[in-house]
């Protein structure tokens, strides 16, 4: 196929001509092979200019383009759309970041900037000649289900937000509790397995004694923290100690807890197994204020290493102190310990006064709790990575703060790490609406720049199967590696590691990358 390249040089308003000699670039481009048209524009991000370029491309019968402008992410969607209208495949538009790689950082040395610009233009032309058109495929989602794991505060918020997009929400809850939330609630159920890919997942659910399969398009993990159980030496030595959440529930509904009440930040103050968690400060203050309001005569001690009441919860700190809550600060000099003789007495050295206090208590509550034990089950079922502390691991922040490394699976609330209810609710809404938005369209887009196997070269060594973070490669019926295109994200880890060089990433093939490097190194430096 003979390539016909259109070269577009963007002036980026006025920046580029101040440093570079555009006429030289233009001449270089028009003298190169396969170039049919060279256009210099003021700003390629301007809609009118863009329309002009595309019209020019159609007139000159160009089938691919090299655009010298700025950062790809800033304008490539608009550019790809415009070229698509002119019948040019989006993968045939090569974008060179002239502004941020050349003009701005090397504006003092015009001669070298010019040399660099010319070299990277040549390299881009060489790459553009080798590009092949690729199509992104579409597939309908079989269902419009969003499955939410966990019916806590976060799960309810997620269900509410997702149902605003008009999708079906199904909440899977481990316990028997009933909640008011849009959609179906499956209680006493747990996810034990999953198949499929983003948009068409097939979950295996253990509902009571029965095993069911459920198709869904997106999954929101809102499993929450391990609010009900405690871990750590202090908690072990006092049998009837409770987590802060339990204290909160008892204050709200049940009979008033037995006083005096002591709230300690962590059940392992001297060790390192359980750090004080972020939510502990605000949640402890909220709970003791609630308690003091209901029964003002109860004696309440808050024993914390440090009270970091941030934001408006600083006001709670002041209010709690005014209401008569006794704050005891300890440090490395004297960690809280249970009295050897009396198990209902705690000994702590007050760091601000220097006195050793012996505090009798009726109820002992701990503000830090371990992670939810169900996280391991969920992570194993959905095949997503865990964090070291036992939470679900978040994906890269560029994917979004409530995403997992796998597309189509979102995670929110205390499944990541324990946090206050308001924060968890906000995260739940975020994850729910993201899942809802994603499922609403009903179409999965995949393909394009994905891995491709040359079957003759493959020796079925399983290296790609083990390495891929998304489990896209598998050994097919012909004993050769194959790629599930729906799962492939196009990272190219398999292509880089394949010992027989049987896998290549389309759009970034070995030839394309090495040709670009060769041309770059052939130019002036």
């Amino acid at each position: 196929m003979k390539a016909a390249i259109q070269v577009v040089i963007c002036k980026c308003c006025t920046d580029v001509p101040l440093v570079l000699d555009l006429s030289r670039l233009e001449k270089l481009a028009s003298d190169s092979d396969n170039v049919v048209s060279v256009a210099v524009v003021n700003a390629v991000c301007d809609g009118k200019e863009l329309a002009g370029i595309v019209k020019n491309a159609v007139e000159k019968e160009a089938d691919r383009a090299v655009v010298l402008a700025c950062h790809k992410k800033d304008f490539s969607p608009a550019l790809a759309k415009a070229y698509k209208r002119a019948g040019i495949n989006e993968f045939l538009v090569e974008i060179v970041n002239l502004r941020e790689e050349v003009v701005v950082p090397i504006k003092d040395d015009k001669e070298r900037a010019q040399a660099k610009a010319e070299t990277i233009l040549n390299a881009a032309l060489a790459r553009a000649r080798m590009l092949t058109p690729l199509e992104r495929k579409k597939e309908d989602m079989r269902t419009r289900n969003v499955v939410i794991i966990g019916a806590g505060v976060t799960g309810q918020a997620a269900a509410g937000a997702a149902s605003e997009s008009g999708v079906h929400t199904i909440i899977i809850e481990k316990s028997t509790r009933t909640v008011k939330a849009p959609g179906i609630i499956m209680s006493r159920s747990q996810v034990v397995g999953a198949k499929g890919y983003s948009g068409n997942y097939e979950l295996e659910i253990q509902a009571g004694e029965k095993s069911e399969t459920l198709e869904c398009a997106a999954i929101v993990i809102a499993s929450g923290g391990g609010w009900t159980h405690l871990k750590g030496p202090l908690a072990k030595s006092v049998k009837d100690s409770i987590p802060l959440y339990e204290l909160f529930l008892r204050v709200r509904s049940g009979p008033a807890p037995k006083g005096p009440i002591v709230v300690i930040d962590t059940p392992d103050p001297a060790g390192k197994t359980m750090k004080t968690q972020d939510y502990a400060w605000a949640a402890a203050l909220e709970t003791v204020i609630d308690l003091k309001k209901r029964s003002p005569e109860t004696v309440v001690y808050v024993v914390f290493q440090e009270m970091r009441a941030f934001g408006v919860s600083e006001l709670d700190y002041k209010l709690a102190a005014e209401m008569g809550v006794k704050f005891v600060r300890y440090d490395k000099g004297g960690f809280p310990k249970i009295d050897q003789k009396d198990p209902h007495k705690i000994v702590v050295k007050d760091a601000s006064q220097g006195d050793v206090l012996s505090v009798p208590f009726g109820t002992l509550a701990f503000a830090s709790i371990p992670m939810n034990e169900s996280n391991q089950v969920i992570a194993d079922a959905l095949r997503i990575p865990m964090a070291q502390d036992g939470g679900i691991r978040r994906g890269s922040l560029q994917r979004g703060p409530v995403s997992t490394p796998r597309p189509g699976i979102f995670v929110c609330g205390s499944a990541l790490f324990p946090k206050p209810r308001e924060v968890a609710r906000a995260e739940g809404e975020a994850a729910g609406s993201l899942a809802g938005e994603y499922v609403k369209g009903g179409v999965i887009e995949f393909g394009g720049s994905v891995a491709q196997v040359t079957a003759e070269k493959c020796s079925a060594c399983l290296t790609c199967v083990r390495t891929c973070p998304y489990e896209a490669p598998f050994i097919g019926a012909a004993s050769k590696a194959e790629i599930r295109t729906q799962l492939c994200q196009g990272c190219g880890v398999c292509a880089g590691i394949c010992p027989s060089k049987a896998i290549d990433i389309l759009h970034y093939t070995d030839d394309q990358v090495m040709e670009q490097t060769r041309v770059i190194l052939g130019g002036d430096f």
Partner: protein
């Protein structure tokens, strides 16, 4: 022949690393002109062959720029990339080429000061060692 200019090639992942490059430029930092970037989808895409071919074609130093290991867009991509760079280093040691010529760096996309540091480090290496087989030790 005029004074030899260092020739440095960087393989740059198009997610966090490219954002870091753009951010460092937008925050007005000066970057040495001896570096040419080759964009790849992920640091894990870089093959030992790409690095060796770049050295063969005349690069004095090659670096790979990827996401932070715990924040990689493709989960394990930058870890894989580092493994591969270390493998290339061991091959270079066998071939008698200085290992410092090839290096892997991780940058966060919000990190504007890292990329100029990476570049000055690699340019310094390229200047010190000169072209492969000429500068440094006699062969």
């Amino acid at each position: 022949m005029a004074e030899h200019r260092p020739r440095v090639v960087g393989f740059c992942c198009e997610k966090h690393a490219m954002d870091a490059v753009v951010l460092s430029s937008r925050s007005g930092r000066k970057i040495d002109a001896s570096v040419r970037l080759v964009q790849v989808p992920c640091a894990g895409r870089v093959d030992g062959m790409h690095i060796l071919r770049a050295l063969e074609d005349g690069a004095d130093a090659v670096f790979v720029l990827g996401c932070l290991e715990k924040n990689c867009y493709y989960d394990t991509g930058s870890i894989e990339g580092r493994k591969r760079v270390n493998y290339v280093k061991s091959m270079l040691a066998e071939a008698g080429v200085e290992q410092e010529r090839v290096e892997m760096f991780n940058v966060a996309s919000s990190n504007a000061w890292m990329y100029p540091e990476v570049v000055s480090k690699m340019v310094e290496v390229a200047k010190r060692l000169g072209p492969i087989g000429r500068g440094g030790e006699e062969r």
